[in-house]
Amino acid sequence: MDSISITGAKIFFEIPIFGGIPITETQVNSWIVMLAITILCLVLTHDLKVRPTSKRQIIAEWIVEKVTGLVSGNMGERFTYYAPFICAILGLSAFSSLSSLLGMYPPTADLNTIAGWAILIFCMITYTKIKTSGFLGYLKGYTEPFALFTPFNILSELGTPVSMAFRHFGNIVSGVVISTLVYAALASASTLLFGWLPGILGKIPFLQVGIPAVLSVYFDLFSSCMQAFIFSMLTMLYIANAASADE
C-alpha cells in the first residue's frame, strides 16, 4: 500500500534573497486566479452601453449592485467605498478555493494566504477603531467594562484575525485532506476488489470514478463559496462594528 502524505504547497524555486523566499504553488496559483478575475472583469465590462444589450453587462451590473448592496446593507452607506475590497476578497477566496476543481492546489489551503488577509483586516479594524474613538479611546476600549478585563480583551482582539484565518483555512484544508484520504482509500479498495483482473485492468482505480465527485460538490463547490461569503461577511461586520463602537 502506498503511503499517503498530506503536505502544503509545492515549492517551485527559491529567490535567494533575505535568506530565501520560496515561490510555491500558492503564489503561482494566486497569480493565475488573479489573472482569471482580471480577465473576467475586463470581459464583463467590455463595451458597456447605457442601454444594455449583452448578458455580460447585465452580469457585471448584477455583481456590482449585489456587492454594493451587501456592503451598504451590512456596513452602512458611509462604508460603500469598501465594496471593491469586499468584492476582491469574495472573488479571490471563492475562485482560489474553486481552483481545486481544476486539479490545482487551492491557494486558500495555504495558511499564509488566509493569515495575510486576516492580518490586513485586523489592521483595518484597528484603524477604524482608532479613527472612530481616537487613540486614547481605542486603548480605553481594552479596559471595558473594567480594568480586570484587559487581558481578555486583548486576547479576544487578537483572536479575531486568528479565528478568521483558521476558520477559512481549516474548512478548505479539511476538504483537501478528506479528498486525499478518500482518493487513497478508494485506490486501495479498488486494488483489493479488482486487483485480480489481468494486466492493466487491475491497476485502474474503478472506485475513484464518481464517488469523489459527490464529495467535491460539498468541499469544493459549497464550502468554497460558503467560506468566501462567511469571510467577507465577518470582514464587513467587524469593520462596521469597529466604527459603531463609540456611537
Binding site: G8, K10, T26, Q27, I37, T38, T45, L48, K49, L111
Partner: protein, 165 residues
C-alpha cells in the same frame, strides 16, 4: 523543478506580505475595471433617465399650456361669435324697425295724400255744383226774363226750382 513541499501548516512572513499585496492589487483591479466602469454606465443611465423624465415633464407642461391657450382662444372665439350674432340681430331688428316705420310713414303719407285728394275733389265737386247752380239760376233767370210771368207761373217756377234742387 524541485519536489520539495511546504509543511501543511507553515507560516512565512514573505508569503503573507505577497498575499496582502495580491489582495490589494486585486482590489485595485476590481475597482478600476469592474466597479468604476459599471458605476459610470449606471450613472450615465441615471442621467439619461432623468433627462427623459425632464423632457417628458417639459413636453407635458408645454402641452398643458397649449391646451389652456387653445381653450382661452376658443372661449374668446365663442364670445366674439356671440357678439357678432348679437350685433347682427340688433342690426337686423333696427333695420326691420326702420323698414316698418318707413312703410307706416309711407302709408300715412299716402293716406294723407288721399284725404287731401278727396278734399280737393270734394271742393272741386262743390265748386262744380256751385257753378251748375249758378248756371241753372242764370238759365232760370233767362227763362223768367224771356216770358211773361204771372202769379201762377211764378209759383210754379219756384216750386219747380225747389224741386230741382
Amino acid at each position: 523543478m524541485s519536489n520539495e513541499y511546504l509543511e501543511l501548516i507553515s507560516l512565512n512572513v514573505w508569503h503573507m506580505f505577497a498575499t496582502v499585496g495580491n489582495l490589494l492589487i486585486l482590489t485595485w483591479i476590481v475597482k478600476k475595471f469592474l466597479f468604476d466602469r459599471v458605476k459610470k454606465v449606471l450613472a450615465d443611465r441615471q442621467n439619461q433617465v432623468d433627462e427623459l423624465y425632464r423632457d417628458a415633464e417639459e413636453a407635458k407642461d408645454a402641452a398643458l399650456k397649449d391646451k389652456t391657450e387653445y381653450e382661452a382662444k376658443l372661449d374668446a372665439a365663442d364670445a366674439e361669435a356671440e357678439t357678432i350674432l348679437k350685433k347682427a340681430s340688433a342690426r337686423a331688428e333696427r333695420r326691420s324697425d326702420e323698414i316698418i316705420e318707413n312703410a307706416n310713414r309711407k302709408a300715412e303719407e299716402t293716406l294723407k295724400k288721399a284725404d287731401a285728394d278727396i278734399a280737393q275733389e270734394k271742393k272741386k265737386a262743390m265748386n262744380d255744383l256751385k257753378n251748375e247752380i249758378s248756371e241753372i239760376s242764370v238759365q232760370i233767370a233767362e227763362t223768367i226774363v224771356q216770358r211773361e210771368i204771372n202769379e201762377d207761373d211764378h209759383r210754379e217756377l219756384i216750386d219747380s226750382f225747389i224741386e230741382n234742387l
